[in-house]
Every structure is written in C-alpha cells, then in structure tokens.
C-alpha cells in the first residue's frame, strides 16, 4: 500500500486547501476498497500500479476537485477584454510614434539607423508591457467576479451602418491624382520656387535640400498616381491594390526618411540642429536676417516631413491591418445564455 500512500500525498499537494485532508482520507479509503475488490488475496505492486494508472495522474485527479470553470479571463469578460486590448494597442503605438517624432524634432541625432532599431525594439517591449497590464487588470476583475453590463440599454437603432470597407472613395482618389499631378508640375517646372515666402518682398528663400531629392520625390508621387489609376479602373479595393498601396506608402516613407535625415544633416552643418537650442538663440533680426529665416524654414520643412512620416506610417499600419484582418479575426459568434431555473448565478 506504500504506492497508494505516496499517490494520495502527491494528489494532496495539488488540492485546494479547503477539505484537503478530508479528500485525501476519502481517496485513500476508496483506493484500498477498489484494490481489494479487484484482487483476491494480497495485492501485488503491479496491481497497485495498474490501479493508480487507471485513476489518473495526481494533478489530473486533484484538478477535478477545484471549483468549476476557472478562467484567467472568463467568457463573460472576454469580449470586453478583446475590445480594450485592441484600443490600448492602437493608442499605444500611435503615442509611441508621436513621441518618436517629437524626439526627432528636438534632437536630430535620434534618427540614425541603429538608434531607430533601438527605438523600435523599445516600442515593441512597451507594447508587450501594456498588453500584460491589461491582462492583469482583467484577471483581477475576473477574480472578483465583476460582471460587465451587457444586456441593458441597447437600442437596435444605434447599430452602426454596414461598412463597405472595400469601396473606394472615387472623388477622393480623383482629387488625389489631380493634386499629385500639380505637385509634380511644381517640382519639375518651378524648382526654384520651393521654399519660404516672406511677405514684405515676395522673395522666395529656397529650401536647398529638397532640390537634390526632386527625382525621388517625383518617382514616389508617380507611383502613388499609378496605384490610384489602377484603383479607379478596378472600382474597389482588392488584395493586389492593397499590397500596391502599402508598397508605395513604404517607398514614400523611405523618401520622407531621406528628406528628414538630409534636413538633419543640413541643420547640423549650420549648427542649428536642435530645435529648442535654436529657439534659445533667436535674435531680434528674426525675419530680416535671411540666414535665420532660412534656418527656421528648414525646421518647419523638417517638422512637416516628420508629421507626414508619422501619418504615412499610421496609414500603412492601418492598411496592413485591413489586409490581414480576414485571416485572423474569427467570425463573430453570439453566445446564447440558457437559464433553466438553476440558481447558481449569484
């Protein structure tokens, strides 16, 4: 019977504290009863082994004594949890990107390749942290059996309209093409007019950096036009066009990155890299001094490009999400709670 003793003790290790010894005693007596009923005379070690094997591993046996339905985050709370996780993740990523943008504005050294990797890994890390915090919060809610309010004030008329996520915005797309063509025209025929205009003399102070990048910029815009044209022709979004749009977006992001880094380099050369430090050194001849005007305008251009970069990244992420959504989100199932008179719901 030694095996049975060891077994019973091991089961006890995994039992809930309440009634533990009592359950163990009952288990012991049952096992011996069963053994005796099966075997005439003295049970052998093999008989014990076989019996215990049949009974099940200690953990499994102990598990059946735990209260039913133990969840980290139960079925009642889970839909709310999914919603909160989705929102938190998106907000988090956006905030991180904005912070990145601000960091770049104030310290242009941030945007080297290695440090970008660094920052990306930090972002991923903090996304994980945010996720675990939400999980822990909901686990606590589950532990204290907090019920979400579901069935109460729900008006069918408040349901959102059926969204056709595949439809394109025809007017918007046409406007985009037009605007892009205008932009290309400016870049091609008026490169000497790209800069800042100061009202007194209607003089244009050129942006020296953009000029060298005009070819790539034009290429990027043309790619965008191509995708838009195809889109208009196909009439709606499909996987191919989504991918193409993501691709041109990524190219555009790359071009913006080039522009931003070259602005950084130019500003560093002029010794006016950090925005804050430059602000500090602004003198009174602000707009009359051509040099400082130029520097300010370069800062402005850079800021505009950074914002464009952030917007582009967010848009790309959104498109990637829309591309992948059908693969990962399972169809919605509506659980039907069937109450048949059992009052075990407190």
């Amino acid at each position: 019977m030694e095996l049975i003793d060891r077994y019973v003790r091991e089961v006890g290790r995994h039992l809930p504290r309440k009634n533990r010894t009592d359950i163990q005693a009952e288990l012991q007596s049952t096992l011996v009863d069963t053994l005796e009923a099966r075997v005439d005379g003295e049970p052998s070690l093999d008989d014990e082994v076989e019996l215990l094997r049949e009974f099940g591993s200690p953990r499994t046996v102990a598990a059946s004594y735990w209260p039913e339905g133990q969840y980290l985050i139960g079925p009642r709370l889970f839909p709310l949890f999914r919603m909160v996780v989705g929102i938190v993740m998106i907000v988090f990523v956006i905030v991180q990107l904005v912070l990145l943008g601000i960091a770049v504005v104030f310290n242009q050294e941030v945007l080297t390749f290695l440090s970008v990797l660094d920052i990306l890994s930090e972002m991923v890390g903090s996304v994980f942290t945010a996720f675990s915090i939400v999980v822990i919060v909901f686990a606590i809610l589950q532990r204290f059996d907090v019920r979400p309010e579901t069935e109460q004030e729900w008006d069918p008329r408040d349901l959102p309209n059926i969204e056709e996520t595949d439809t394109i915005n025809r007017g918007g797309t046409v406007a985009e093409i037009t605007f892009s063509l205008v932009l290309i025209a400016i870049l091609l025929f008026l490169p000497d007019k790209i800069g800042v205009v100061i009202s007194p003399g209607l003089e244009v102070i050129l942006n020296p950096v953009i000029v060298s990048y005009i070819p790539v910029i034009i290429l990027s815009i043309m790619l965008g036009i191509a995708v838009d044209v195809i889109l208009l022709w196909r009439g709606r979004w499909e996987t191919g066009t989504r991918l193409a749009k993501i691709g041109t977006n990524l190219f555009g992001i790359y071009v913006l990155y080039l522009l931003i880094t070259s602005h950084n380099a130019w500003l560093a050369q002029e010794g006016a890299a950090g925005f804050l430090s430059f602000l500090g050194s602004i003198s009174e001849d602000l707009f009359t001094n051509e040099k400082s005007t130029l520097i300010i305008s370069m800062h402005a251009f850079r800021l505009a490009f950074i914002i464009a970069l952030i917007v582009s990244v967010v848009d790309t992420i959104k498109r990637i999400y829309q591309l992948l959504k059908p693969l990962f989100i399972p169809p919605v199932t509506i659980p039907l709670p069937i109450e048949n008179g059992k009052n075990d719901r407190k």
């Binding site: 009592d22 005693a25 009952e26 007596s29 009863d33 046996v61």
Partner: protein, 120 residues
C-alpha cells in the same frame, strides 16, 4: 481514404455528444441512489450494476460539490474495515430529487415526441 476520415470524425463526434448527454443526467442519477447513506465506492458499484458507469474521478468531486450546495450530507463512519465517508440526501436534496424526477419525466415525454416526429 475519404471514408476512413469520415469514420474517425464520426466516432469522436459520437463520443463527445454522448458524454454531453451523460453529463446532464449524472446529478439526478447520483441523487436517486442516495436516499440511504452510502459511501463512494459502493455507490459506483451500485450504479454500475444498474447500467450506469461513472468514473471515480467524476463521482467523488461531484459528491463534494453536491454537499457544498447543500443537497447531500456526509459523515465519516469508522466501523467496518476502514473509515469511510458516507453520503446521503439532505432534506433539501430530497425535495429537489422529487422535483427533478418530475422534470425528467416531462423531458422524456417531450423528447420521445420530438424523436418520433423526426423519423417522419
């Protein structure tokens, strides 16, 4: 090959659904045999003799849960070859057994009707 695949699915599905059916009746079956006090192992034997096989791993936790819910009472009995925990219906359990038995009869009638209709 395809038929074999279907057979494997079929057997598994059958087992799963049968288990669900049985899970539904376990409580009533258990309560029905505990008008007089019995200990776990004897209860299993008796149910088995009458055609209902219950796993030890299922019955014992069930007995405790029913006791926690107030449907059963238990006490240790030290006479006999070893100490054994005896369970029997509590007064509440007794009343519930009656009510549930009626519910069961009604269900059986309804199901018979449904199943006959299905054959048509």
């Amino acid at each position: 090959m395809r038929d074999m695949m279907n057979d494997i699915d079929y057997a598994g599905m059958h087992e799963k659904l049968t288990q669900e059916l049985r899970r539904g009746i376990l409580v009533l079956a258990t309560l029905s045999q505990l008008k007089g006090a019995k200990y776990g192992y004897a209860l299993i034997e008796e149910l088995s003799n009458q055609g209902l096989d219950i796993d030890q791993g299922t019955l014992y936790p069930l007995l405790r849960r029913l006791e926690d819910q107030g449907l059963l009472e238990s006490e240790w009995n030290v006479e006999g070859s070893r100490p054994r925990r005896y369970y029997k219906l509590s007064p509440t359990g007794g009343k519930l057994l009656q009510v549930l038995t009626n519910d069961w009869q009604e269900l059986v009638t309804v199901m018979d009707g449904l199943l006959i209709e299905g054959k048509e």
